[in-house]
Symmetry: C2
Subunit: 473 residues, 2 copies
């Protein structure tokens, strides 16, 4: 089928207003927000219903047309951007934006793929419920993309990653078949677990069109603190003790280096130094209580008091107001952005077993400084999950391009270390096009072969997001 | 290859002591403990290493020999029992019983498939850790079977089912290939989630030979209570309030009917009536605290006090000692067994969305009593997970076989209702051979077809536990 005929068929399915072909219209869908990946497309289609998605994929299968699903276009590994051939269509989920059902009695919400994460959080908050998936891009990212990339974020410590927060899915398969598995059950052992294949598959096995998400009671109170400490070892020790005392009510535990706090206070409006004196490392920790804010605070005071007494903590401040709490979080959430004015940055999204974080950091620092002694390491993130954003800012005043060209040496060094520590080179951002070849070179051949068998079984024509995650052959 | 040659090859792999062929030796592996399913086998093989499992499956693939994996033989749906053809070999995981690693710093344990669940629980308990999977058969069941059947149990409310407690797997594929995914990471987004395919697949896609399991800090204190209440509605209301107050520290919430308490106190040694007066329904609930037992108790008292005040609870007792706590649990855990002396019993393992439990129970009671007005309904279980063991004991003094023959009408009625309420006909026990045909008749055709495609992709020769869960063609 030629291009014109295909476009006519797409228009017949979605309406001409929802088949974008002009460069001005398609441009926002073809560029990753940092400009790292760009692509070309035959058309951006914006189906408004699951039935339309089904017709599009059926047509794509019949014509061998590649389909690149895209949500809020906030992915960090290029999974949502087509290649430069111009053969693919981009399937935007933006118009699949209905909240189909909010079940406060059953503590579930059923949403279409294009609903923005922040909208879900705010909607359930008005009903005293919590949807705990929380990440920097939540004002733009869509739940379909969050699930396709198995997003992590700051709430994962207590509540798990996106995978753990999903009870059921509706998925359109490459053939156009609709898998209706909008399960609201906590327990269901009737056959293979299909849901978890599509979660984290980055759109290479089908298009997630709707999901049932788990809700939780909104905690009666949350207490938030920043603690200053001398080393990652001490921070990890504090984590162990806090988790022992608070169990699953320890709802955040984020590590930040002094240099990150400096960057943030310097460059992010409203961010300020959290403690009277500087400390080499900081921890942002939070305890949630079903009882009251006072209860959460009492436990947090106990944890920090114990930390001060045992020398794990050098100083600490508990937020006295919502404002102060937001200030603490702004420090953490602005950290990646605050690196921009500091010049070039080489970033990583690694995880290792939690207890190996300190040893990994020591070795990683040595490896980086051996390559570029003046580099500024801004390693921060979800210590409680063993997940660090191991970012490296260029030496102050040095050339940006010269530094960025070192990524060819720095990234393999960091990733090799992560693997040596039994870790992952993509803890929460996924593979996309960025890490596909590295994955192929380093993952076990048996695992890769299994992935390929599954890909072929579900997408025999190979139309779904080709070139992402794995190559079929 | 003829039978003799095949046996010689198996002996060459495992040693003659571990290839059982005599009826006396194989009998324990060929009969489900209640006598509901029996089968025949060419041989029971007991490999001692993953490499031996690999060689066995490779041989089975080459010769088209069916393989039935078996752990502790406690499964309730016949998944572990071969058919009557005598062509299959039973692969017992009993000798794969090493604890490979206990990582108290990283809170993981790496165990082989044949390690008994109770052994894992006791081992980590000695290190002040909790492995929360807990079920009646834990003294016999093996972790490989627990994972293959995605076991649930009483700890699922806070900690999740077996699937949620597993970080990594080692699996031997039907081809003999070994998938080494013994991941210890909380976050890893490097490609398709293979682990969750094997968990819950009941041995139809490969043999789980080892697993990395998540450990948790042992709670500093646990408070346990039994509350009497007037109806499932009230019990559900108590659950809502308890969960609001205790959040994830509400670690058990089990429903029991008066008749079940009567059966248990009558037939189970040491079981006694928990409250001064009888109540139509009982709830066994538990709160865990990272702080202290007093803290757990205080919160439990608040929850129960609130329940008494609002009329949700009629009476309640908090366990004052470990002995009393055990007594409360004995009531719940003896309930299924206590039905045996009462005659025939027709059992179900259904789940529905938690808030629909009361409505389901009302309709199910009507449906059952319409078929057999004198039946005694003993519906109990994991209310907090929406999972009931909807068991029905025969009318007192009636004929056992006459009653059991009603299963043809009662079970479809219960299962139809579960489906109508958006529920599952197998919440935690799996499909096995018991529910295979019903699954084929009632699950969505797209889901079934996807399952078949996956089965064919991973097990093209069809040697893995044939006839269980789904038929390949």
């Amino acid at each position: 089928m030629n291009r014109e005929a295909l476009l006519q068929r797409l228009i017949a399915i979605c309406g001409s207003a929802n088949v974008l072909v002009d460069d001005a219209d398609t441009a926002p869908y073809l560029k990753e927000r940092r400009g790292r990946w760009t692509g070309k497309t035959m058309a951006v289609v914006r189906p408004g219903t699951t039935a339309e998605v089904s017709q599009i994929l059926k047509l794509a299968s019949e014509t061998g047309t590649p389909v690149v699903p895209q949500g809020g276009n906030t992915g960090l590994v290029g999974g949502q951007i087509p290649d430069s051939s111009g053969r693919a269509i981009v399937l935007s989920t933006s118009r699949l934006n209905r909240i189909r059902d909010l079940d406060t009695a059953g503590d579930t919400i059923t949403v279409e793929a294009g609903v923005v994460l922040q909208t879900i959080r705010e909607t359930v908050d008005r009903h005293d419920r919590l949807f705990p998936l929380s990440l920097a891009a939540q004002g733009t990212s869509q739940i379909g993309g969050n699930l396709s990339s198995n997003a992590g974020g700051t709430g994962a410590l207590t509540y798990g990653v996106a995978r753990d927060l999903c009870l059921g899915l509706e998925v359109v398969l490459p053939t156009g078949e609709i898998l209706d598995d909008l399960n609201r059950l906590k327990k269901d052992n009737t056959g293979y677990n299909l849901r978890n294949l599509f979660i984290g598959a980055e759109g290479t096995l089908g298009v997630i069109t709707a999901a049932v998400l788990k809700l939780f009671p909104k905690p009666a109170g949350v207490a938030t603190a920043v603690a200053g400490t001398s080393s990652p070892e001490k921070a990890h020790e504090l984590f162990r003790r806090a988790r022992q005392a608070a169990g699953p009510t320890l709802s955040a535990f984020e590590l930040m280096p002094r240099i990150g706090v400096e960057f943030t206070t310097l460059h992010i409006a409203g961010a300020r130094d959290p403690l009277a004196h500087p400390h080499p490392w900081y921890v942002l920790l939070e305890i949630s209580s079903g009882r009251s804010e006072a209860d959460a605070r009492t436990l947090l005071e106990t944890v920090l008091g114990d930390g001060l007494q045992t020398g794990t903590v050098e100083d600490a401040a508990i937020a006295d107001s919502g404002q102060q709490r937001n200030d603490f979080w702004r420090l953490r959430e602005g950290m990646s952005e605050s690196q921009i004015p500091e010049g070039g940055s080489i970033k990583h999204d690694i995880s290792v077993p939690v207890d190996r974080i300190p040893a990994f950091m020591a070795d990683a620092e040595k490896a980086v400084l051996a390559i570029t002694p003046e580099a500024r390491i801004v390693a921060f993130g979800h210590l409680g999950d063993g997940n660090l954003h191991y970012n490296i800012s260029q030496p102050a005043g040095a050339g940006k391009q010269t530094f960025l060209s070192l990524a060819d040496r720095i990234t393999p060094a960091i990733h090799d270390l992560a693997r040596r520590f039994g870790g992952s080179i993509s803890a929460e951002h996924g593979v996309g096009q960025m890490k596909r070849d590295e994955l192929a070179a380093t993952k076990s051949p048996v695992a890769l072969e299994l992935m390929r068998r599954i890909k072929r079984a579900l997408d025999p024509v190979g139309i779904m997001n080709p070139g992402k995650v794995i190559l079929s052959d």
